[in-house]
Amino acid sequence: MDILTGRLTRLTAANPDTDAEIIARWSRDSHFWRLAHTDPAYPTLEQTIKRKLEERPIDRQGFAIRTLADDRLIGLIGLYTIFWPQREAFMGIQIGERDYWGRGYGTDALRVLLRNAFEELNLQRVSLSFLEGNERAKRSYENCGFRYEGRQRHAWAYDGRRWDELFMGLLRDEWLIIANDK
């Protein structure tokens, strides 16, 4: 079994030469941006993204999500902060290709990332947060076993009102029970 391959997707290194153009296109989708980032929506140049992809800092595990069917880049996923002594990491996922929203691709990639986090990196805990009202994300996280841990009230401002930031976490023991059931 390839630990980075799921049922619908596989996680690969992003290719700066071919992927930057696609990610730059996603950055022009402001709704997508707001779900994926907390800084203001702002179109990004292909060259800027290319440079970032080339850096590949070793303290974070970033992957490109590709479909198994046709190897198409549909999103990005990663552990962006790892506290090694505590073995806790924060994760993020974004599916830039809207055609692949709500079809199980994100959840599949998430499971692959979690398997890698708990069974290769041997983390103790994975944490995440997301925007209030993002039901698609919430369902996907719950399906992977994440539990709700609280909300930062009014943490974000969009469209003239405040929105909560919701937090979830998944412990190693909880993951292993789920993984062994499958």
Binding site: D39, Q86, G150, R153, G169
Partner: protein, 187 residues
């Protein structure tokens, strides 16, 4: 009229961080594991004055980007450094940030200095920086910090289960929050 003083309190004052003057003293604090473990979940380790200076340079970089505001806390009576206060991880479009306070010497704790520091830090965050909300983070074993922030109006909002392991036990990390409106009502 405008508030008369932002940096002068009754017993303490906010001064700019001064690595040349304070590195030696701050380095001494890092030899106290209890202090470090109450302060954060980062790895506790003693730092030399030279390492402290480097740390201060890093803090300066954040300050230059206006993502953070760092203060040295000094006593009014003899100008002695007793700790630090900072606002960091500021996201300007959302008007949010985080607070952290440390009093390095245990003899300076329990005298009300911390309460005064927090009061001044919140005033600075809400009345000068015009932030909308603040967060504070602590580990569940630090019951003193939880009470300290709750007394100032913070609410526990998030409990990251078992996020910290120390002395063979796993502990929750608590994230507290305070909205500007709540603070104004309490003032």
């Amino acid at each position: 009229m405008l508030t008369d003083q932002l940096f002068e309190g009754q017993h303490i004052r906010f001064a700019p961080p001064d690595a040349d003057r304070d590195a030696e003293r701050v380095s001494k604090w890092t030899h106290d594991p209890e202090y470090l473990r109450l302060l954060s979940a980062d790895i506790a380790k003693p730092l030399s004055p030279g390492q402290i200076k480097k740390q201060y340079e890093e803090l300066d970089k954040d300050a230059e980007k206006h993502n953070a505001f760092n203060f040295a806390v000094r006593l009014q009576e003899d100008d002695r450094l007793i700790g630090f206060a900072r606002l960091y991880r500021i996201e300007w479009t959302h008007g949010t940030g985080s607070v952290q306070i440390g009093l390095g010497d245990r003899n300076d704790r329990g005298k009300g200095y911390g309460t005064e520091v927090l009061h001044m830090l919140l005033r600075y965050a809400f009345d000068e920086l015009n932030l909308y909300r603040l967060a504070a983070m602590t580990v569940e074993y630090n019951t003193g910090a939880i009470r300290f922030f709750e007394r100032a109006g913070f609410n526990v909002e998030v409990r990251r289960r078992q996020a910290v392991q120390r002395d063979g036990k796993r502990w929750d990390v608590l994230m507290l929050g305070l909205l500007c409106d709540e603070w104004k009502r309490a003032e």
